[in-house]
Symmetry: C2
Subunit: 219 residues, 2 copies
DNA sequence: TTATATTTTTAGACTAATCTAAAAATATAA
DNA sequence: TTATATTTTTAGATTAGTCTAAAAATATAA
């Protein structure tokens, strides 16, 4: 049974929520993510359960079945491949790609996905540092930490962002921070958990709202 | 007002019909093209007329307004650009691209269209020889004729196809006919209008059903 | 020019996805 | 452990797009 665009968006939302907050996902959490009312979500959960894409227990919540998880990952794979295409081939900047990828991820053609992947040289990460699932749905996760958990004096490499809104990405651009940028932790302020970060030669003060949205790895 | 995918498909259908059969298009002609019942078409014509995308007179037919024509051409432009992308960059063959382009043509992002066009080197024709409208909606039409109207003894170049179904394109592949192939008219059979065509060193007999679906130009 | 055939529209119903308002279930707190 | 708050579901509507069946308009043919 073919999935509709809307169903795919629900599955993706549920996948992302369960990844952060655990397997069973609440109606309200989904409603917030897909920007719909809880009553609409209830209807959709029944439909997705009928299609064996998730298990749903009234008043308890929903959890993706293997079939549902596979479907969600396929959409995410396409989303991230298209983002790479837009940045690498079409001169989009990393803050412009999400909206378009949100549309392109729903194009149905296994050959297209396969050939796009090959054309891009089988990229491992999207422009925001998120891993690209392979054709079998396997996601290679590297051990990254949040900048907020970094230690003073050490040097790190930026490997990803959590918030990939245009506003946040433009903030990073302004301070010349991108995937691969070296960051040195100069100081941590105990009072508000803000940090002083040295990028190239400049030192920037970053609030907790910033440092909890940047992924880094050591060295 | 944003157009839906369905509206765009109707506009495209009406554009193509009016291009062949004249400005005013009948409900039944549209119904056949979009594979829907006449009653559904009537409903849609009312909606498109409300949106000023076409003029509609009950029982008389519909004709695109300038706004509707522009919208249709933009979809056709995207369709053909994507077809070029699939063939030139992703190793699709010319008989595999239409279905996918049918989906991709509805992606809404002016920047995407613009950058894709540039990435492809501003192509003038799609893989089936159809002209690609420019960003302003201008379509450069070259003077091409049907193979069925060719003269015996003359040499022509294949510049396009009318039927771009997979079956027909595979027939052409089998006989090594593509855009740019030289064709020599050896003989015309008056009885059934079939033709003997020399391609490279081989001579092939083609029925009228074939020769009325191939566009050529002299030389 | 009247009868018949064809085309087109209307009427009413269906599905997918959504909403608001009210009811029911569950969680929390006195 | 009973009352209150929160979450979730149900009931009933709405919109887009579609359908079938019937009615109305137009075209064709005797
Ligand atoms: Mn994205
Ligand atoms: Mn999406
Ligand atoms: Mn096509
Ligand atoms: Mn289409």
């Amino acid at each position: 049974m073919a999935t509709t665009l809307t169903e795919e968006n629900y599955l993706k939302a549920i996948y992302h929520i369960s990844h952060t907050y655990g397997d069973v996902v609440s109606t309200n959490a989904i409603a917030e993510k897909v920007d719909a009312k809880a009553s609409s979500v209830t209807d959709m959960l029944k439909k997705l359960a009928d299609k064996q894409l998730l298990d749903y227990i009234k008043y308890k919540g929903a959890s993706l079945t293997e079939k549902g998880r596979k479907t969600a990952i396929d959409i995410i794979r396409k989303h991230r491949l298209w983002e790479v295409f837009l940045v690498e081939k079409l001169k989009f900047s990393w803050d412009e790609v999400h909206e378009v990828a949100e549309q392109l991820e729903h194009i149905k053609s296994p050959k297209l996905t396969k050939e796009l992947d090959a054309f891009l040289g089988f990229p491992k990460h999207d422009p925001h540092g998120d891993p690209i699932p392979n054709a079998d749905g396997y996601i290679h996760r590297t051990n990254k930490i949040m900048l907020s958990h970094a230690e003073v004096g050490k040097t790190y490499t930026c490997v990803g962002v959590i918030d990939s809104s245009s506003e946040f990405l433009k903030y990073l651009d302004k301070h010349h921070i991108g995937i691969g940028t070296k960051l040195v932790v100069v100081e941590k302020e105990a009072f508000d958990q803000s940090m002083l970060i040295k990028i190239a030669s400049k030192t920037v003060a970053m609030s907790k709202a910033i440092t909890t949205n940047i992924y880094i790895k050591e060295q």
